[in-house]
């Protein structure tokens, strides 16, 4: 492991130390903006703009959080975002798994062409579709509703592709023996195939949840009433409000908004990186 040191190879040891230092500096640079935001969020507004800068808040002012929380209906934003992210994730993962299963394990004419077509839709930039989709939602009265936010985004080509690739590795023998036992096609999918796909399902769920939690343009466009807004849209309102120069409160808002996704990531980070590896290698 430390062969360089054993051989008394001083330049190699210096090189290793330098590389560690490089990674550490980058780590500090990565983390610092977040620490600075949290630090600012706990200062009084006068101390937030003090020069020279105050590193550690003194006095600590947690009221910034409660005050920011009350500037906008943040509890409503949180409820909306959680509802959309949870229902959207569960639905999208289920639909992806179903479609991926059909594409991986059923033989029918044109199944490969269908896969290519589904993957090809990933190349359509979403903003091209914004006006037509908005018009469709307006026509069917789905604007400013939960189902309008959730349903149009349930079919996700990336998820279908990932699940299809993963389900190719499930042995068809299991499926066949399920058929011999007279299980219905859906219960084979539900009881035999899905339980074998938990790594892919977990990775996809976390991806979708974080993406939904953080998505901004879609809820910005689909919703219009304050009661239907999400956390990210609420933050943008805060950033554009007359409080935009209340920097400590701004940072309190940014922290409130960023915390859930960071918590989910830190709790489940193993699945996260595994999930990217699933796609990275296949890519």
């Amino acid at each position: 492991m430390i062969a360089g040191l054993e051989r008394g190879n001083v330049p190699a040891a210096i090189g290793k130390t330098l590389l560690y230092a490089l990674l550490a500096i980058l780590g500090v640079a990565t983390f610092f903006p977040l620490l600075w935001a949290v630090s600012t969020s706990l200062k009084t507004e006068e101390n937030a703009i003090a020069i020279p800068p105050q590193w550690i808040p003194d006095p600590v002012r947690p009221e910034n959080y409660t005050e920011t929380w009350e500037m906008f209906p943040f509890e409503r934003f949180y409820f909306n975002t959680a509802l959309i992210a949870i229902l959207g994730t569960v639905g999208a993962v289920l639909l992806s798994a179903m479609a991926g299963y059909a594409l991986a394990k059923y033989r029918f004419r044109g199944s490969y062409a269908l896969l290519i077509a589904i993957v090809a839709t990933m190349m359509i930039p979403y903003w091209i579709n914004l006006v037509p989709v908005y018009t469709i939602l307006a026509k069917i009265g789905w604007l400013d509703t939960y189902h309008g936010l959730i349903i149009p985004r349930l079919a996700r080509p990336f998820g279908i592709f990932l699940m299809r690739q993963y389900m190719l590795t499930v042995h068809s023998d299991y499926i066949d023996s399920g058929r011999v036992d007279g299980a219905s096609e859906f219960s084979i999918f539900w009881r035999i195939v899905l339980p074998q796909c938990t790594p892919a399902l977990a990775a996809l769920s976390i991806f979708f949840f974080v993406a939904d939690w953080n998505s901004f343009m879609w809820p910005l466009i689909v919703t219009s009433s304050l009661d239907m807004r999400t956390v990210t849209v609420g933050l943008s309102l805060l950033a554009g409000s007359p409080f935009r120069t209340a920097y400590a409160h701004q940072m309190a808002g940014a922290t409130i908004g960023a915390l859930p996704a960071i918590a989910v990531f830190l709790a489940l980070q193993r699945y996260f990186t595994e999930g990217i590896s699933l796609t990275g290698i296949k890519g």
């Binding site: 059909a102 933050l235 290698i281």
Partner: protein
Amino acid sequence: MTQPMAGAHGLMKRRWYQDYQKRAAFLFLFPSVALLFVFTVIPFFAAIVLSFTQWDLLSPPNWVGFQNYERLTIDSRFKSTFLNTLYYVVGYVPVVTIVSLLVSLIINERWLRGKVLFRTLYYIPVVISPVAAAMVWSWIYNPAYGFLNTVLEGLFGTPRQFWVSDARLAIPSLIVMTVWQTFGFNVVIFLAGLLAIPSEYYEAAMVDGASKWQQIRRITLPLLAPTTVLVVIMSIITSFQVFDQVLIIGGVQGPRRRWK
């Protein structure tokens, strides 16, 4: 029991079974395909058709041929926003690719401890919403009280810069911010690609006395090429779509850069 697949009855049974399977496949696929069709495919073609019309969303669209496109070619706002985006993409993609490649090469070194720690640390900005991240950075970039100006002034006496509202600095500032937010994602992808390179190659190279640099040049980079291509293409696609951060940090208007 009768023998399966024997005689006319068996044939019918098989036919029925194949149809049953097809029906099952159809039902599994239907929700996704239908939704993709209604909310992605139809809108895409509608957008193309609508681009040849004049339409106020209320009255029926009027066919105008290439008129909209002609107007775009003479619209100075379109030209400058397009060139701004191009400038951003051309700056962002190489920087994010090189930074994440270098970092993943270091993390991939066998003697290195704390791989998971570094990888996790670099990934944290990726999961923060671009809106919250842009709020944090606009505070750091703040011309009067921002951390960047305060530190630069204190250490080097650098005059205060308008990182976001100065047209010369706006795009580079945006590049720094988005590299910060996205390089951790590419690091993980590069690490997956590096892991897929068989270690036998390196062992053989060491036997032959190849230097570290030669190993990287002749083994790692060529075998990592598919991953690099993936990272570059994905970065190009996502950077052309940059929106959230720009809206929060600069507003819709933003500074106007003059392009010749």
